[in-house]
Amino acid sequence: MMIPLLLGITLMTFFIMQLAPGKPTDLVTDLNTRMSSEAREKLVKLYELDRPWHERYWKWLKRMSRLDFGTSFRDGRPVIKKIAESLPATLLLNILSLILIFTAALAIGIFSAVKKDSLFDKISTFFVYLGFSVPTFWVALLLMIGLGLKLGLLPISGLRSIHYSDLSAWRKFLDMSAHLVLPVFVMALTGLAGLARYSRSAMLEVIRQDYVRTARAKGLPERTVILKHAFRNALIPIVTLLGLMLPELIGGSFIFETIFAYPGMGRLGYDAIMARDYPMLMGIGTIVALLTLAGNLLADLLYAFCDPRIRYQ
């Protein structure tokens, strides 16, 4: 199951690259009027561009399996090194957003389901609608201006201040946290709305079940009924959503890291796109897909963790 998926991912990245108009050698040949057609042929041979695609794909795949993506067109540094430098920052951002999404969305979802049609439920439903429809990059822009520039409460770009290296360890932590507030909040926004609504309806579904009534009839305190009996069952469909949310979240990295000048893989990717840095893009594309795959695997494991019925099969 995993292996064909992996092969498919690499095949797809390879073909998107073939979409690129022209040949990589055009830059050298077409701009040089004194280049003879023989020399041109030679260059094409050298880079094996005359070989059929499956042979080139196979060669590329063999290099990839050693995580050798070649060197960046922009500064000639190995692609994998540049990715390795920026990946931790992106993972930090995504994981923090995910934690925020889950804690906030589950809390909102449970509370509005338990107190259905209350004022809280109505207000949160309204905000969920808003969260679905609002262009998040616009919210980012407004927050940067409002909280960042006008009020000067939070830093609006990067991950560290200029004087970061002079700070004490505790101050360093505070500095980085302050830089993370806006990006994490904005990145969590879209997913938050979706998950809050989903967990509300999952909870509503579960609360109606007989076993919840039985738990109440047994005289268990309401807290236990909601958190132990209802919530654990509502969690099962919610975990499935996690796998679907990951690509969305990582996709968001490309917008928000650019807006917040955040030193992560998303911005690296955006810069690579702007500079048509093909090796860089192929590397990032593959890593992103692998990350998503790993996330899906994690969701499957969590699934088994939440639902004993799957574990014992």
Partner: protein, 275 residues
């Protein structure tokens, strides 16, 4: 049948509000050349960066262009891009879903694995990558959004088709010697229309958000053509002293996406036989 649905939609106040807004937006888009006080590219450098006033309801931008006029013209761009993109995605998704669900076996396996692979790539990254190789312009943006956003619908339609395939009326059609295309398009298709319509309506909102994000990053609709996204992009350089350049286009996106989402949700409630 249809009148029952219409009745149900109109009973749902939010869905009705969404439908009304959508109609208004379509009318605005169609009549923009006559409604707008000026052409979207009319510059007046004396009037640059004017705050909202009686003359310029939403102020003017850095080239002295009337923001309100550009917003109206931008409605056209946003709606056309979204409708065409969703059209492509709907066509693709429905077709793949029907074929995978009806033929089953290896056809299904191959198509669904392809969907799984596509789902591993964040859609937005995929779009960015493809746009980087093609030229960023309206046509490419529509095609790329359409071609990358059919996977969810394909899965949905496949699921519906899988269960419909086993029903008696399909068996009867087959027994009467109906051709495969006839079974697919005359017998199966009408039965999956409801989820397709809902997903298309919700898809319009998503497409508008994607287009505006692309244009905001400079990879979508190119200036001087006005799109809400590229208006925001141009406005962000002046955001500190010219708030109107950033607030109005954002509100326009929010309202439009909300209209389609409300309508889509309303349709889902109305068309869902379980409710």
């Amino acid at each position: 049948m249809i009148s029952i649905y219409l009745h149900r939609i109109f009973r749902n106040k939010l869905a009705f509000a969404g439908a009304l807004l959508m109609v208004i937006l379509i009318i605005l888009a169609l009549t923009a050349p006559w409604l707008a006080p000026s052409h979207f590219a009319d510059q007046s450098l004396i009037d640059r960066l004017q705050p909202p006033s009686g003359k310029h309801w939403m102020g003017t931008d850095d080239l002295g262009r009337d923001v309100f006029s550009r917003l109206l013209w931008g409605t056209r761009v946003s709606l056309v891009v979204a409708f065409v993109a969703v059209g492509i995605a709907t066509l693709f998704g429905t077709l793949v879903g029907l074929i995978a669900g009806y033929f089953g076996r290896w056809t299904d396996a191959v198509l669904m694995r392809a969907v799984d692979i596509l789902l591993c790539f964040p859609t937005f990254f995929l779009i960015l990558m493809v746009i980087a190789f093609l030229e960023p312009n309206i046509v490419n943006v529509m095609i790329v959004i359409g071609v990358t956003s059919w996977t969810g619908l394909a899965r949905l339609v496949r699921g519906e088709t899988l269960s419909l395939r086993e029903r008696d009326f399909i068996l009867a059609a087959r027994a009467l010697g109906a051709s495969t295309p006839r079974i697919l398009f005359v017998h199966l298709l009408p039965n999956v229309v409801a989820p397709v319509v809902v997903s298309a309506t919700l898809g319009v909102g998503g497409a508008i958000l994607t287009e505006s994000a692309l244009s905001f990053l400079g990879l979508g609709v190119q200036p001087p053509d006005p799109s809400w996204g590229n208006m925001l992009s141009a406005g962000k350089d002046y955001i500190y002293f010219a708030w109107w350049l950033s607030v109005f286009p954002g509100l326009a996106i929010l309202t439009t996406v909300m209209a389609f989402n409300l309508l889509g949700e309303g349709l889902r409630d109305a068309l869902d036989p379980r409710s």
